[in-house]
Each structure stands twice: as C-alpha cells, then as structure tokens.
C-alpha cells in the first residue's frame, strides 16, 4: 500500500489532466475562430460599389463619400458624454442605449454610432475624434443618383441589420446591402468583396504587426459596373407623364426581352433613400398606404387585363382551328348568356376578326370563346387547352425576370373554378367574362408588355430582364438570351396584328396616331371595384393600352395601365403613343398632346372614394 500510494496518485493526476484537456481542446474547441480571437483585429478595406449605366451608357447611379462614426465597445474609455453628444448632434440617452446594445452584440467588433455623415460634418469632427478613445471614423461610399427616376428598378441600399449579420457571415455591422431592385438582385456583383487585413494585437490592444505575416489577408475586389436595359431618357419621360396618375408602364424591346422602361406611379426620387434622412423618408413613403409610392405597380399590380386580352383569345381560337379570320359573329349591341344580355360598345352589326378587334366587340369574342370550348367534349378539357396556350405567353405565372419581386397574375384553371363554383357546376358560359379579359384573369403590366412582345415577334418572347451586361465581359445569364416559343403558330399572328394595326387606323385608338410610325395596339377599359371602410364600390374604369411599333419591324412593345383613367385611349393610349414616339423618333412632334398629358392629373378621381360623399364614375368630360 505505502509503496503504491504515490504511483497511483501520479496515474490519477495524469488521467484527470488528460480528461480536462480533452474537454477543453477536443470538446469545447471550435475550428473557425479567427474573427472570435481577441488577439486578432480585422481591418476592412471597402471597394467602391459598382456604377450603374443605362442601355446607352449613360450613368444612372454613382457613388459619393460618406463617413460613419464607429466604435469598439471594449476600447471605449470614459469620456465627457455630454460634450461628445453635442458634437455629434445626438441625445445622451440614445447614445447610452447604443453603447449598451453594441456591447451585447459584441464588445470587440465595431458598431455604428452615427451613420453616414456628410463631408462637412466629417471635416468638422475629424480633428476632435482623437480625443475619444475607441471611436473612429470609417469612410464608406453612398449612392449618388444622376437621375430622379427609376427608384423602383434601381432599388436602394441600407445598413445591414441584425438578421443579415446572422444569416450571412460576410457582413459586418455598418456595411451596406442592397434591399430592393437591382441593388438587391446584383448585390454581390455591385458590392465586390471587401479586403481584410488581420492585425495581431497584444492584450493592451496594441498592434504588434500583421497576423501570420499577412498570409490570410485579402485585397479588396472591385465592385463591377453594370449596364441595365433601361433607357434613361424614356424612363424619365414616362415618369413625367405619370404626373398625378397611378399605374404602371412597362416597355420591352421584343427582339431581346430587354426592359426599356419600367414605370410605377406615383414614385419617388431615389436620392430620398440615401444618407441620414433615409429612414425618416422611408417611413413617410412606406406608410402612405393610399397612394403607395413604394409599391411597384409595374410588376406588383394585378388588374384584369381587359380588352387587350381579346387578342389572346383570337390567337387561341385560330390555333385550335375553331374559327378563321373571316368567321363572323353578329353583335346585338351586346350578347346573350342564357337569357342575360351583356353589353357592347362597338356599335353592333356583323363582325369578323379584323373589325372585332379594332372595334373591340364583346359579342365577337364571346362567340369565339364559346367555340374554343365547344371543340372539346368536356369543359374541363377545353379549359386545359386554353390554360396551356395562355401560360405559354408567360401569363398566370412568374416570368423569372431579374427583378427581385413580382406577382404571378392569374390564368384561372379547372382547379380554380372547381373551388369557386364546385366541381361540374361551371361551363364556358359561366366563365365567359374571360373572353373579354374582364373575368378572373389578371396580369401585371409586365406580363401584358411581355404578351405584346410575343405578339410583335409573331410567336416567341425572351424573358424580360433588366440586366444588359456586367462589367467588361458583358455576359449575362443564358435564361435571358434564349427565346421561349408560344404554342401559337406563326401564321395565326398576322390576322390579329392586322386587327391591332387597324385599331390605330380606324378603331378605338384612331385619335392617338403618330405621324410616320405604324403602330399595332389594343385598348382596354377595365371595370374595377374597391372596398373603402368595408363598403364595396365601383370606381371609374382603369385605362389600359398595349401596343408595339413599328408593325413590321417591332422595336418597342409596351403596356400602359392607368388606374381610373376611363377609356383605354384616353390616358393609357396617349401615354403609350408619346412613349413610342419618344423612343423611336427621339422627340415629340405633337407638343399639344404632350403638354396635356404632362399636366392632366387624376388626383380628383383618387380622392373620390375617400371623400365620404356619393360620387359619379366614368364621367365623360376630361
């Protein structure tokens, strides 16, 4: 016993030590600790965010310098809080709260005290900052806009929040990140990669040289510039035309699917969301729930498409062989569904395809629509065929654009109606409103523009996109360079396009002709309802217009949707024709029209439902 006592103690000590070391070095050990190590400080070198140019190489978004006051909680030494707060123009409780929260986030990592100071503030503070240990000024670059338009497309950047920090280890507090639009979609391209220098520190927090002799350091990678497909001039012009009007406009180059303009009204100046006033301005915009300036109507609004949708039904009927261009339907100033009469504004008489389209005859398309369904033994089968054709135009589903938001619209199918009416209790007559684009169908202005582009191309389209090229290579995703075929054969487009061209020559759009440019288009006047304070009320019809030009060699296809603008040709048609002229000719010859469109507003219409008084809709005067 007495001889073994010491030996066994030695062995016991050995086991205890190894046990404890296993706990520390094997169990508690976490491999990635460079940033957690108190002995290593990371110093970041931020590259400049990439510029954004329009399709003609005109600068839209650049950068301006800004200065953040940063601090590292554990390095902060006691200071004259009041004096410091006065210097920075912040109040003391907020300052103390910020310090407390930063300490919780991390005592060793930098946090932002005051973001985005101007150059003038920086000059004033620069000398005094050295009196406050633990605080320093970090230079950053903020966005600078050479245009006051396209806020919905360009998007904005803002400081990363706690969620971003958790989700993406790349970001460090105080950095900026794209929130919407192309800033979000092309965040990594525009942002580049920050460089990092690791500095070895001692426990007094003094720098004692590069960590591992700089082996882990990286150089910043410049953010790449991008060129977008927007035409800055067209976009700006379109936004001016939207003055006082709500709605969305999308213009596409049908030959490539490039989005030339994407306008939402009302909109806001992108510069509002830059700098220290950002959050104040943002709240103001965000909480305007009546005109909703941050709600991008060009891709998020899903109204019924109205009469432009008739062209689609004409195409499907031709493809299915249930009519030919000379097939005639009689219009009784309307048509009958069972014993119920539905109205038509075309004037009545016998209609073939050409006059059916340019006079926008409801009876003609109701007849056409029925014929599609009559071809098949059951409504269900007819429905499937119809739905398939519609969806091949990018309707009723997400288009897959490079805009990080959007809506799918709606092409109602079997399942939709089975749920709505009950299985087997609906027929083509039940859903006849879809014939004139007024029923359950819904489409965003972007989808309508894309549909028009597909018609302009006589049967195919490219996924609409906003990116033209990235950096110097120019390569973009192949998703945007491969055409999508629709299910309609090429020859069926000509009669429909002829009808659309006649809309301008003789039809509903004859008041908006442009000298020397042949346009094909289709008006739409869409009934609509809203609920205000729980009361359903009908408002003045939406004004819708789709068009492409020139007819034989289309350069632009667009959809214009103006809320409560009444006739399709009234607001939407005029705006569309001005945009087409602007894009193709570069200048406007019809100055009177231009002046009228720039000045006319629809504010009086928008005020009606909120006035609390009875009001008239669809007033003739304007």
């Amino acid at each position: 016993m007495k001889k073994l006592l010491l030996s066994s103690i030695i062995v016991m000590i050995g086991f205890t030590f190894i046990g404890r070391l296993s706990y520390l070095q094997l169990f508690s050990f976490s491999p990635d600790q460079t940033l957690e190590d108190p002995a290593i400080k990371a110093i970041y070198d931020y590259p400049e965010r990439g510029y954004v140019y329009d399709r003609n190489g005109e600068l839209m978004v650049g950068n301006q310098p800004a200065y953040d006051i940063m601090f590292i909680p554990r390095e902060v030494k006691p200071l004259d809080t009041l004096e410091f707060c006065n210097l920075l123009g912040i109040d003391k409780p907020a300052f103390i709260e910020k310090l407390r929260r930063a300490r919780i986030y991390s005592p060793r990592l930098p946090s932002v005290l005051v973001p985005q100071l101007s150059k003038e503030d920086y000059a004033r503070l620069q000398e005094k900052m050295r009196h406050y240990v633990g605080f320093y000024i970090q230079k950053r670059s903020l966005r600078f806009y050479t245009t006051n338009s396209a806020a919905n497309v360009l998007g904005y950047i803002s400081e990363v929040n706690e969620g971003d920090l958790l989700n993406n280890p790349y970001y460090v507090a105080g950095e900026l990140k794209g929130r919407t639009g192309i800033e979000k979609q092309y965040e990594e391209i525009l942002r580049g990669r920050k460089g990092v220098k690791f500095i070895q520190k001692d426990r007094f927090n003094r720098d004692i040289g590069p960590y591992k002799n700089g082996k882990l350091d990286t150089l910043p990678e410049q953010g790449k510039e991008i060129h977008i497909t927007l035409d800055k001039k067209l976009q700006e012009y379109g936004e001016r035309l939207m003055n006082g009007k709500r709605g969305g406009i999308v213009a596409i180059d049908p030959k490539s699917g490039e989005i030339l303009a994407m306008i939402s009204g009302p909109t806001y100046d992108p510069a509002l969301l830059v700098g220290r006033q950002r959050s104040k301005n943002y709240s103001k915009l965000h909480y305007d729930t009546i005109s909703k300036p941050t709600w991008d109507r060009s891709i998020l609004a899903e109204p019924s498409p109205g009469s432009p949708f008739k062209t689609m039904n004409a195409l499907v009927a031709l493809q299915e062989g249930v009519i030919d261009p000379s097939t005639k339907f009689r219009c009784y100033n309307g048509f009958y569904v069972g014993s119920q009469k539905k109205g038509c504004h075309c004037g009545g008489g016998v209609r073939d395809m050409n006059s059916g389209i340019y006079q926008s005859c409801n009876a003609y398309f109701a007849g056409t629509f029925r014929k599609i369904y009559e071809k098949y033994p059951t409504t269900d089968e007819g429905m499937d065929v119809w739905e398939k054709h519609m969806k091949s135009f990018g309707l009723g589903g997400y288009l897959g654009t490079d805009i990080p938001t959007g809506r799918p619209g709606r092409i109602p199918g079997k399942a939709f109606y089975d749920k709505w009416y009950g299985d087997g209790s609906w027929a083509s007559s039940t859903i006849i409103s879809n014939a004139i684009g007024q029923g359950e169908v819904a489409a965003t202005p972007l989808q309508l523009a894309n549909m028009t582009a597909a018609i302009a191309n006589r049967g195919y389209f490219y996924t609409p996109h906003i990116i033209k090229n990235i950096g110097n290579t120019g390569a973009i995703d192949s998703r945007y360079t491969e055409p999508h075929q629709t299910t309609i054969d090429k020859e069926h487009f000509e009669p429909v396009i002829k009808g659309m061209a006649n809309v301008y020559k003789y039809g509903t759009g004859r008041w908006v002709q442009i000298p020397d440019i042949e346009i094909a288009g289709k008006t739409g006047t869409v009934e609509n309802f809203v609920r205000v304070n729980g009361e359903r009320m009908q408002l003045t019809d939406h004004s819708v217009f789709v068009a492409f030009a020139p007819v034989e060699n289309p350069k632009i296809a667009l959809a214009v949707y103006i809320e409560n603008g009444y006739y399709g040709s009234r607001y939407a048609g005029h705006i569309a024709s001005l945009l087409i002229e602007k894009y193709i000719k570069g200048e406007i010859t019809r100055k009177d029209l231009e002046k009228r469109m720039l000045e006319k507003t629809l504010e009086h219409e928008y005020a009606k439902p909120y006035s609390g008084e009875p009001f008239k809709i669809n007033e003739y005067v304007w």
Partner: protein
C-alpha cells in the same frame, strides 16, 4: 563495485526525459518571449536567451553535483538545512521585493530565491533524520521532529508572502507515508479538505445531514460483521460538524475577499451566472485567458510561433507560471498530452529508482525529490487548465527562471548521483 565509470552508472533514461522536458520548455519560452524574429538565440537581453544561459548554469551544476563525493550530501544535510533556514530568516532584513513578495537576494547578475534552495535542503535533512538508526517513525516524539523539519521552512516562507511555496513543503508528507507514517493522517487531511469544500458548497446543515445518512448506512451494513465503536464514531461526527461550523466562520472572517473570490470561482459557489462570468474575467482573468488559449489550440494546435494569444501576451506570466498554456495553444492536444505523459513516465521512473535503493537515506531523499517535483507539476498544470484555484508555483524544468531550473536540476541530479552509487552502498 561495477566496472563502469560514473557516467555508465547514471540512469540515462531519466537524464534523457529531463533533457527532453527542458528542451520543450525552452522552445515554448522562446515562442512566448520572442519579439524580434531576427534576434540571435544567444541574445542574452531576451528572456529566452537568458533561459539558455540558465540551462548552461544548470549543466555546470550537474557536473558539480556528479563530481562531489556521495557521502557529502548525507553528511552535510543538517548544515545545509541550517544555512537555508538562516537565509530564509535573512530575507526579513536583506530581501529584495519582486512583485510584492520579499523572496529574493539580489546577487547583482542574478536574483537568488532561497526558498528554492531550502527545498533541496529540507528534502536532504528529512531523509537524513528519518534514516538515522535512532529514529523510529512510530514514535510520536520522532514524528513531531519530522513534522518540524518540514513545517519550519513553510512557516518562514508564508509571510514573504509566498503561500504557494509554503504549500510545496506539505508534499514531503509523502516521504513520511512511504516510511510508515500512519496513513490515517492522510485520511484526516482528506476528510478536512472534503468537509471544507462541501461546507462551502452546501452549507453546514446539509453536511450534518450527509454525515447522519453516512452513519446510518454504516450501521445497516456493518451491524452483523463487526461491533460498532459507538463512542469514537460519535466523537468523529461531532468534531466534523464543529469543523464544518468553523469553516463558515474562517471563510467569512479570516479569508480576504480575493481568496473568497478564488474559491467562489473554483467551486462555482456564485450561483448568479452573470456575477460568475464577471469574477471569471477579473479575479480569474489569468485562468480564463489560459483556458481560452489552451482551448483555441484544438487537437493539432496552431503551430510553433503561430499562437495568437501567446504572441499577443494575453496570458499573463505565460513564460513563467502559465507556460503550459503556450504548449496548449501552439501544439494542441497532441502537445499537452505528450507533456503529461512525459511527466507521468518521468515520475514513475523516479519511483522505480527510489525503490531500488538499498540505502535508506537515498530512498527517502528520492521520495522527497519526487514529492517536491510532483506537487509543483500538479498545482501548476491544475491551475493553468482551470482545475485548481490560482496558486503561483512554477512548472519544473519548463517555467522561465534561473533559481527554479537550477535547484530542480540539483534536486534531481543529487538523487541520480546517489542512485549511481547504490551498488557501492550494498557492499
């Protein structure tokens, strides 16, 4: 006598282990104290350069020890002891104060720490006294003398203040136990430690309840086989409870706040997680940093000269008492386990050598050497890895410092010299 010379009779395995430990220690001191990578290894203005010089001195010490007549140590043990006691006393008058402890003599080129010398002397004196033909370990009076030999230097060192070094002398009890000192003293000592810790953790009431349950269990299981000594058992329990009661009093009134904080940290007495964290980062700062440094090493370590916390000097006193944390950070689990195994093997080898001595003095001195080295190793690494409260003692052969290295080396090689002579003693 064997035909081999002195060097042939030396236990080369031990020498090799010793040299290996010194080498590993120096490599880590180099890594910890290196500031200019271009400086020469022999630059004596650097700490690692100085340590190299001390290693040279230790080597000279080895040669000296090996050429001294074996009998010399036994014969002059008492003189050494008296000299070192005088030196310890002299500190009260002539001592030089470093870091708050008056433990050094300033010799100009070198600060001598007599408590290190006293360890060698005490081990020699104890061995000499116990091996005396007239000493009987079973005799109470002789036990008392042996205790005085051990406790005198401990008492002289305590007020320097250097409680760590005083604690070292208690390890010499192992020599007594080896020589037949009744083991129940060890039992009493352990019981006291357990009672102390449990009282702090659970309070006197729970300790009393625990003792009651324990007694009941003894009654139930031993009732049939043996007669229960009721009177002594009641006595033991009464004393235990009294002791337990006194613990609270001593803890609150005799200990200072810094001591209480160390215990609070060690036994996790503070239940408030936030306050515990606070203590860990203030009072327990050294241990906290050293644990973190060791932890960050992982299995393979960060590599030689790559330890960020080592380089950043985050662990205070890393080249002295906390040298093991550098091993942990740079060499990882592989390194720390290697060092633990080397030390364990080294100690077991020394026990083997001690047991093969035919001369009582040699064996007893051997046990003294082992005890002293072992308790340094135990307290130091236990503290560095956060198992024991902070007590400042160096890690033998590893820690930076001349006195430590030289006297540990002398201690070891006097024993190896005695061992090389064991066959002669038998004749």
């Amino acid at each position: 006598m064997s035909g081999k010379g002195l060097f042939g009779r030396l236990d080369w395995l031990t020498v090799f282990l010793y040299a290996f430990l010194v080498l590993i220690g120096w490599v880590n001191i180099y890594s910890t104290t290196l500031s200019d990578p271009n400086a020469s290894l022999f630059d004596f203005s650097t700490l690692y350069g100085k340590q190299l010089f001390f290693i040279g001195l230790a080597f000279a010490g080895i040669i000296l020890v090996l050429f001294i007549e074996t009998n010399f140590f036994e014969r002059f043990a008492s003189i050494f002891y008296i000299i070192s006691m005088v030196l310890l006393l002299g500190l009260f008058v002539f001592g030089k104060t470093i870091a708050g402890a008056t433990s050094w003599y300033d010799l100009g080129f070198f600060n001598l720490q007599p408590s290190e010398l006293a360890k060698v002397a005490t081990a020699l004196a104890l061995a000499k006294y116990l091996s005396d033909i007239q000493t009987d370990i079973k005799n109470r009076k002789h036990q008392m003398y042996a205790l005085i030999i051990i406790l005198l230097p401990a008492l002289l060192i305590l007020p320097q203040p250097d409680p760590g070094s005083s604690l070292i002398y208690f390890s010499l009890f192992f020599v007594l136990f080896r020589e037949g000192f009744p083991l129940y003293y060890l039992g009493i000592l352990l019981t006291m430690v357990v009672l102390f810790a449990t009282t702090l953790m659970f309070g006197t009431v729970w300790v009393a309840i625990g003792l009651a349950i324990l007694t009941t269990l003894i009654f139930i299981f031993k009732r049939k086989s043996t007669k229960i000594p009721i009177l002594p058992l009641t006595g033991v329990i009464t004393i235990s409870i009294l002791f337990s009661l006194s613990v609270g009093f001593v803890y609150e009134n005799v200990f200072e706040q810094r001591h209480r904080d160390r215990f609070a940290l060690w036994l996790s007495l503070e239940k408030d997680e936030k306050k515990l964290e606070e203590i860990r980062k203030t009072i327990g700062y050294n241990t906290y940093q050293s644990e973190k440094a060791i932890e960050s090493g992982g299995f393979f370590g960060k590599g030689f000269l790559e330890g960020t916390r080592t380089k950043g000097d985050f662990v205070p006193e890393q080249h002295t008492d906390y040298i093991f944390s550098s091993v942990g950070e740079e060499w990882g689990f592989m390194g720390t386990v290697t060092v633990i195994l080397l030390f364990s093997f080294f100690f077991l080898r020394l026990i083997y050598i001690a047991e093969r001595q035919k001369n009582d003095f040699s064996r007893m001195f051997g046990y003294g050497v082992i005890s002293i080295l072992l308790i340094h190793y135990f307290i130091n690494i236990g503290m560095v890895i956060g198992l024991l409260p902070t007590i400042g003692v160096p890690l033998p052969f590893f820690s930076y410092g001349g006195s430590g290295l030289i006297f540990f080396t002398m201690l070891l090689f006097i024993f190896l010299k005695l061992d090389s002579n064991r066959l002669k003693d038998g004749i």
